[in-house]
Assembly symmetry: C2
DNA sequence: CGGCGCCTTGACTTGCATCAAAAGTAGTGG
DNA sequence: CCACTACTTTTGATGCAAGTCAAGGCGCCG
């Protein structure tokens, strides 16, 4: 089970870094908090051991007691239908929060599965809730996070409902690119941590279609593709495949 | 513009009913609040004039300042893509809360459009937020509402990603039926307030497909259908079309 | 009555799924 | 280091569910 991936430990994945010093603070939960409020938040955040590919952070059906912030690595959330099929509902990158499903019913509706060696902060919800009452900007921030989650899912709904296979895949690549960029990484070049099968599941496509579309984009020179390593050669062309105006900031 | 539908004014749409007396209290925002907390909530709720089919409660891009509870009638929320297409992201029935998009960015990402003569409660968010800090059970309730919204959207994502036209439409009928039932109305017989085109838009199908599937269900005797009036003749058969186990509660 | 939306139905087309097989990649153990 | 197994990805051939195009019906309103 100890699948050590090539992903090296990075400075921000060391357990002792606190929220104030974390280089992801500008995009994570602490946004817009005062320094002493960050310290209060810091007190309730639990930083765990690195987790490995395939590990589950929580299971669907499990009691909900915490939300999670991803420090490094990547995570997917999946929910299971009546007939046992899995649907991936989101991919999470460093600085992003997951696990807010399950708040409604006190039980997680999704499972969270680790895609590559990751470092994760656990934030016990009871204490977060309590602190939110005392720190209005934290309460607001948390409302915003949930609202952002809703907005993103609506984007996905639109993608699934209205867009072709090409558009869906181009959109996903652009989304990852943008999120990488916001974390201060390259928008042009990145590693697809998820398998073709994960991508297909997420976008409502078969793995064959995913493979074909990626090959075509490669042949057309829009992207360069080596296994899971992606380079966006022509950003405007990719946006045009995604039917996104080239001037859209997104 | 004044499209007066056949829908009669009902007792719970009269503006003077307060939260404590509203017959939707058991499924609306006040759930699990103490009686004096309901009164505090009641103080900030604004009950407006009835609105008509086609009216917009808020526009995409508009400043976010309130969430809304539907007292009677029906509402759809839509968001607009880059290329000007509309995507319906939800249908709302009495007792349900909408307008929580826009919390993230302080601007609504959706528009809310009235489907039939409706009565709506407006809840200014600033005051709700403030009250939430003082009343932990309200804060919790509001977190839950947003989380429920997330869970429902994930259901829709799964539906769009994995299910056939028949399954999508049967699922929608069952969802409306269940929600009616929870409001104390008939689960067997109801009025489809939305047009075929709305249904198609919501479910990622063309209006022709919607029409064909409904006709087929009618011919098979699973439902009776007269214009917008629906009677579910064989609930188990409908669940089976939706690929939902017949013993599933929801 | 005639015009305008909304809905239904039929004939045809197509994008993606399905089926099938081969090629590439990784992990394991001799 | 290579052979072996298992898994993932690619590529090709074929089929079908749902989209598109087109025509006609029904109800509503001026």
């Amino acid at each position: 089970m100890s699948v050590q991936t090539a992903s090296p430990r990075q400075c921000h994945s060391t357990p002792h870094v606190n929220c104030a010093d974390c280089r992801l603070a500008s995009i994570c939960l602490p946004i817009s908090l005062q320094i002493d409020d960050i310290e209060k938040l810091d007190d309730i955040v639990q930083r765990g051991r690195p987790v490995q590919r395939g590990d589950r952070i929580y299971h669907a059906g499990e009691n909900f007691h915490a939300v999670f912030a991803l420090r490094s690595g990547a995570v997917k959330t999946v929910c299971v239908t009546h007939d046992g099929q899995e649907q991936i509902t989101g991919f999470y990158l460093p600085g992003e929060i997951f696990g807010m499903d399950g708040l409604a019913s006190n039980n997680h509706t999704n499972s969270a599965i680790v895609l590559e060696t990751s470092a994760i902060c656990e934030i016990p919800f009871a204490r977060l809730e309590e602190l939110s009452s005392q720190v209005p900007s934290l309460q607001r921030r948390f409302f915003q996070l949930m609202s952002k989650e809703i907005a993103q899912e609506q984007q996905l709904i639109t993608l699934l409902s209205k867009n072709s296979a090409d558009e869906r895949i181009a959109s996903l690549l652009l989304s990852i690119s943008t999120r990488n960029h916001n974390r201060g990484l390259s928008a042009r070049e990145f590693h697809l941590t998820m398998s073709r099968s994960d991508i297909g599941n997420y976008l409502g496509l078969t793995i064959e279609t995913v493979s074909r579309v990626l090959s075509r984009l490669h042949k057309q020179g829009v992207i360069a593709l080596d296994k899971k390593h992606v380079i966006i050669n022509d950003l405007d062309a990719l946006k045009s495949v995604a039917s996104i105006p080239t001037d859209a900031v997104k």
